[in-house]
């Protein structure tokens, strides 16, 4: 079974779509500590639902918490170019640090910059779009957003690869 590590926005959207719990039945999900802290609300229609993700999912061992060390963080900040470092969010950064350390994981993200970062860490093969993750898990859902799509993921990955080649 593949081991997935998810970005905060992916979890929020899957909760909003009502498929997150279903996904847990199909695969093992790993989340970085910072991402766990970032999931505070999700939406159903216009309603904003508060969630205590740690209590509901981490403490009940439905998902596995992954904490990067300061050295893990240091390692990726030395690999990423300044322009990416300055723009990346905290949850994405720790997830990348965990991924860099544990290459058995596959990172599911809908964030353009996080996806663009993967080639700089030689982790292009360790990324997956939301669309593909759901397909692999046999979950069908309503219409997905553009950043969920495989095409979006591949475009951003290609952008990252090109930037790396250019010595960005």
């Amino acid at each position: 079974m593949k081991l997935w590590i998810l970005d905060a926005d992916v979890i929020i959207d899957l909760l909003s779509l009502g498929v997150f719990d279903n996904l847990l039945k199909h695969c093992q999900l790993h989340l970085s500590t910072t991402v766990i802290e970032e999931v505070r609300f999700y939406k159903t229609g216009k309603a904003k639902i508060q969630i205590n993700f740690r209590t509901d999912y981490v403490n009940t061992r439905k998902v596995i918490e992954e904490s990067a060390t300061v050295d893990d963080l240091k390692e990726i900040t030395e690999l990423l170019p300044m322009a990416i470092k300055r723009g990346i969010g905290p949850g994405e950064l720790e997830s990348l640090a965990v991924l860099n350390k544990n290459r058995n994981l596959v990172f599911c993200s809908m964030d353009g910059l996080a996806i663009k970062s993967l080639p700089f860490l030689d982790l292009s093969q360790n990324g997956i779009s939301v669309e593909k993750l759901l397909q692999k898990s046999g979950i069908s859902t309503k219409i997905l957003k553009e950043p969920h799509m495989e095409q979006y993921f591949q475009t951003k990955l290609k952008d990252g690869q090109e930037l790396k080649i250019k010595g960005f």
Binding site: I12, T33, G89, P90, A97, L113
Partner: protein, 380 residues
Amino acid sequence: MMETHDLALRLKKARESVGLTLKSAADKMGFSNYQTLGSIENGAREVKAAEIIKFSKIYYCSIDVLIGTGDHNDEKPRLLWRRAPEEHVRKMIEKRVHKLAEQCVWLQEALTISSRRKFKTFVSDREEIATNFKVDDIARQARKSLDLGRRPSLSLKDALEQQMGVVVIYDALSDAGSAASMVHPRYGAIVVINSNESPWRQNYDLAHELFHLYTWELFTQDELQDPVLFHDIERKADRFASTLLLPSEEIQSRVHQKLDENKKLSKADFVDIAREFGVSTQALAYRMKNANLISWEVADRIAKNEEVLGLSKDRRWDEREKAPKSEILTDLAIRGLRKSIISRGKFAELCGIDRCDIDDFINEKGILYNDGESFEIMDS
């Protein structure tokens, strides 16, 4: 292994730079007691990456600096405070403003925006603000050059941000202090407004700070330490704000209209006119006195009248509905997200929203996830 001792020192230095005590920093970090942070700063307890990330957030300091892969920026921006808060609060706000300004400049560079409009002043000599009449002249000139029209408060913020490149930052200053401003060689002109204030108070503060921006180069920081000079400048900034937001001919015209309708001017009329011009009833009363429409005694009585103040609050409750945001920062963040120069997490941070609100926020602004189709522009 990272040198624990060095990391501990850097964390301590970062905490002190924002004026946080061990206890208040520990509270913000969510530690059950301050001894935990004490152990970290003594190098006796290992720090997790997630904690470093949290430290960087509460200390307004980059992760690179904390883990030793970046240089610490010791620059202290010179913010001119209208009424400075206590030192520890001031330090934190100035650090936060500094960080936002840095991100603003970085985003402009990353988006290859050649330069946002540079703030330009037309006040070059102290003589130009020597008297009240001269200050009034400056205000009229500003209203004209910014094209603020007949109700200046309605367009002042947009004019400052769009025409003059002023970054207006809204910060919950609570009762700690009032507005502040600076003109920085790298960051440009910045105004900090208390987001907890009423909209009409914010308008007035914005106009007041504009006077400081215009006269920024006229006084040195050392000179401004002189309370007599500072008080005089503050008084003039108030005068400027009042004249800018309340054009005398417009006030007169509105008052006469009311008199034509009702034969007298009631307390409720005062509230209505103040609302129309986006100012407080006190500001309107004193302006009417300066325009010789009412006597000083009447102005003072209105300004201090509890019923008028209550009426004003009740009638104007709807003006408080939406928290204002810095348009320049929001615009840069949106463009940065669209081009994947910043991540969604950073976007939420910059716009001060929760991550689950990102898409609704984007939809409200009517942008796409990418630049979309290009259109050909015809030669004119």
